[in-house]
Amino acid sequence: MRDIESLEKLSIDPTEQVKTDDDMALPIPAAVKNGAAFSVESNRNSRRRVLVSKAFYYLCFGVSLISIVILVVLLASILVQGHTRLTPSLLTNAHSTSEPAESGMLPAILGSLAICAVCALSALPIGIGTAIFLEEFQPTTPWLRRLHGFLSLNIANLAGVPSIVYGLLGLSLFVFMFNAFGQIRVNETSGIELVGVERYYQVLTMAGGGNSALIRQTDPAQPTIVVTESIEAVDRQGEGFTLEVWDPKSGRAKPTDPEVLRRTVRKGQSGGAYAKTSWYYFRLPFGRSFLAAGLTLALVILPIVIIASQEALRSVPPSLREAAYGLGATKWQTVRSVSLPAAMPGIMTGAILAMGRAIGEAAPILVVLGATVAKNSGPQNLMDTVVTMPVLIFHWAGDPKVTYQQLAAAAIIVLLLVLLVMNALAIYLRHRFRTE
C-alpha cells in the first residue's frame, strides 16, 4: 500500500520544500496560549462580540423591514386617495377639463397598449438578436474579442443613460428625423407622405346640416380651396360625382331637390383641408406620433432586453450545446433548436419585465409627444398622437385640483394593476415553459 518512494521520485518544486526543523520546535507564544484551559464558556471578549453581532443582526432585519414598510405605506396611501374615483367612467371616458369629475383614462390605456406593442415589435427582435450574437458567437481572435468587449460595455452603458436623453434622441431621430424631410407644421406641411392618406378639401354643400363634399387636394402647399366651377368630388362613402356650382347672381333658380342640393355648392364656397387616413398612414418624418414614441421607448428598453436575454442564454448548460454539435448540428441549427428554446423562459421573463418598464416610462414620452392629454380616443393610425397612462398621471398629479389628484391616484391603481397582470403573465410563462 505504501508508495512513498514512488511519490518522492516526483520532481519537486524547490520552493515548496523549504523547511527547517528549528521552526517546528518553536514553542507556542504566550500571547496566544492565554494560560486558559479548553472551555466552551464564553469569555468577556467573545460575549461582547456575539452581542454586537446580534445587535447588528437586528439592525439588518430592521433596515430590511423598511422597504416593506415603504411599500405598504405607498400602496395604502394611493388606495386611500384614489379609491373613490375607481368608477366605470374612469375606464370609459377621456380626460376632460370642463368636467374633471367625469374624466377617464380610456385613451391613455389604449395609447399605452399601442406604444407597448410598437416597442415590443421593435425592441425584442433586435434585443434578442444582439444577445444571440454576443453569447452564441464567441469571439475567436484578439481583435474580435476586443470588439465583443466593447459591444458589451457599450450596452451596459446604454442601460445607464437617463431615459429622458433617449427621449431627446427620439425627438431628433423619429419626430424630426434631423429635419432631413422638412419640418411638420400643422396645416402647412406634413413631411413626405408615403402611403395611407388621401388629402381632400372639405366643402359644405347646399344641403346643409353638415353635408359636405370632398375634393381631392392636388397642391399640398394650398391649405384652402374656393369653388368657382364644377369639379370632380367624392362623398363620405368615397363615391365619385361631379360637384355642381350654383351662382346666386346668375339668376338660375335655387335647386330644391335634396339629391341635387347634396351635389351642389354655392359659388365662391371655400373649403379647408381634410385628410382621410387609413390605419397604415405612413409618412416621414414621423412627427409626434405613437410610432415615434414606441420606437423611442424601444431604445430605452433595448439594453434591458439584451442583458436579460444574454443572461438567459448564458444559463443554458454548455452540455446541451455540445450535445447538439456532437450530433453534427451547425451553429445556427444549434442556436435555433437548442439554445433559444432552452433560454426562452428567461428571455420571455426579461422581455415582459422590460415591457413593464416601458409601460411605466413617462419622461421619454413627454419629450416625444409633448405634455398634452387632450385626446378622446386611442390611436387611429400609425401617425396619430396618443396619451399614455404615465403622462396622464403626471398631468393629473401636477394639477392642484383635488379631483385630479384623486384621479391620479385612481389611475395609478389601474396602472399598477396592469403591471401586476404583466408580472403574473411573466411568472405563468416561466412556469409553463419550465414544466414543458
Binding site: 500500500m1 505504501r2 511519490l7 516526483l10 518544486d13 520552493t15 520544500q17 479548553f38 472551555s39 462580540r49
Partner: protein, 273 residues
C-alpha cells in the same frame, strides 16, 4: 452490516488520561447521530481521537466523515438543516450543548479547508486576522506572532520579504500553508483539516503532509482524506467510514495491513470508493 458491529474499536477507550505512556484522549465522541433535514448522515457513532496524533478519516464520498469533522467545531451551525444528537467532548467538555459559545470554541479548534481560502488581504493581514479579533496585542507582539505562525507552517522563508503582498499571489501549496498559519496563529488545541491537499499538486501535497506530520507534536490533528496513500503516509490513527457508520478504527498500520472488516479491506485495496 449489523448495528452492533459498527463500532469495532476505540482501542484506548477507558484508558486513564493520566497514564504517561499511553496517548491521552482529546476528543471523545459517543452515540453521535447527524442529519441534514431528514437524511441521516451519521448513525450512532462513537470514536476517540488521541492527543498529539494525526487521525485520518477515510471512506468514500458521502460517508459522513466531513459531516463529523464539521461538528467538532460546530461549523455545521451555519447550515440551517444540519442537526445532531449524542455527545462530543473535547478535553472532557461537552461541545454540542446549546450553551456552547461557538465563537470561543472555534478559536480553540482550528480548521483548514479543502481549497486554500486565504482572505483577499495581504499575507500579514491573513495571519493577523484572528489574533486581532480574539486578542488585544501590541503591534510588536502581533508581528512576533505572525512570524511564529508562518515559521510554524513552514512558509515563512517564502513570504518573509513580501508580507504585505496579496495572499492571492501565492501558489496553491503556499496558500494552503498560509491557511494553516492563519489557523494556528490563534493557538488552537485541535486542528481540523478537511481534505487539505485535494486541490494541490503532488509536490505541494508532500510539503503539506510533512507539515501535518510535524505539527502533531503540538496539536491534535484530525484530517479527512479521500486519498488512502495520504492517510497511510501521515496519520497515526485511521478511522474508516462507510454510509454514515464508523466501520473500523485503530492504528493506521493495523487498519491498512490487517483490517478486521471485509469492507475496510475492500476499500483500502481499492475495490470500491
Amino acid at each position: 452490516m449489523p448495528q452492533s458491529a459498527s463500532v469495532t474499536n476505540a482501542p484506548f477507550h477507558g484508558e486513564s488520561p493520566s497514564s504517561e505512556s499511553a496517548p491521552e484522549v482529546c476528543v471523545k465522541i459517543a452515540n453521535f447521530n447527524a442529519w441534514y433535514d431528514s437524511f441521516q448522515a451519521i448513525h450512532d457513532l462513537s470514536l476517540d481521537i488521541l492527543r498529539n496524533q494525526v487521525t485520518a478519516f477515510i471512506g468514500p464520498s458521502g460517508c459522513g466523515k466531513s459531516t463529523l469533522l464539521r461538528w467538532v467545531n460546530r461549523m455545521n451551525d451555519i447550515v440551517p438543516t444540519a442537526q445532531c444528537t449524542g455527545s462530543l467532548r473535547i478535553n472532557d467538555v461537552e461541545v454540542l450543548s446549546p450553551s456552547t459559545d461557538v465563537v470561543h470554541l472555534r478559536r480553540q479548534v482550528g480548521m483548514v479547508f479543502q481549497k486554500p481560502n486565504p482572505f483577499p488581504k495581504s499575507i500579514y493581514e491573513n495571519v493577523a486576522f484572528a489574533p486581532r479579533l480574539h486578542l488585544k496585542l501590541r503591534r510588536g507582539e502581533l508581528d512576533e506572532l505572525v512570524e511564529w505562525a508562518l515559521r510554524k507552517a513552514a512558509v515563512w522563508d517564502e513570504v518573509k520579504d513580501r508580507l504585505n503582498a496579496p495572499a492571492f499571489g501565492l501558489s496553491g501549496g503556499q496558500q494552503q500553508r498560509l491557511c494553516i498559519a492563519r489557523a494556528i496563529a490563534i493557538g488552537p488545541e485541535l486542528l481540523l483539516m478537511d481534505e487539505p491537499c485535494s486541490a494541490l499538486d503532488p509536490a505541494s501535497t508532500l510539503a503539506i503532509e510533512d507539515l501535518i506530520y510535524e505539527l502533531r507534536e503540538q496539536y491534535t490533528i484530525v484530517m479527512v482524506t479521500h486519498n488512502m496513500q495520504q492517510a497511510s503516509r501521515c496519520s497515526d490513527q485511521t478511522a474508516f467510514f462507510f454510509e454514515g457508520r464508523l466501520i473500523e478504527s485503530g492504528a493506521t498500520d493495523d487498519v491498512f495491513t490487517k483490517p478486521q472488516q471485509k469492507r475496510t479491506d475492500d476499500y483500502v485495496r481499492g475495490r470500491f470508493g
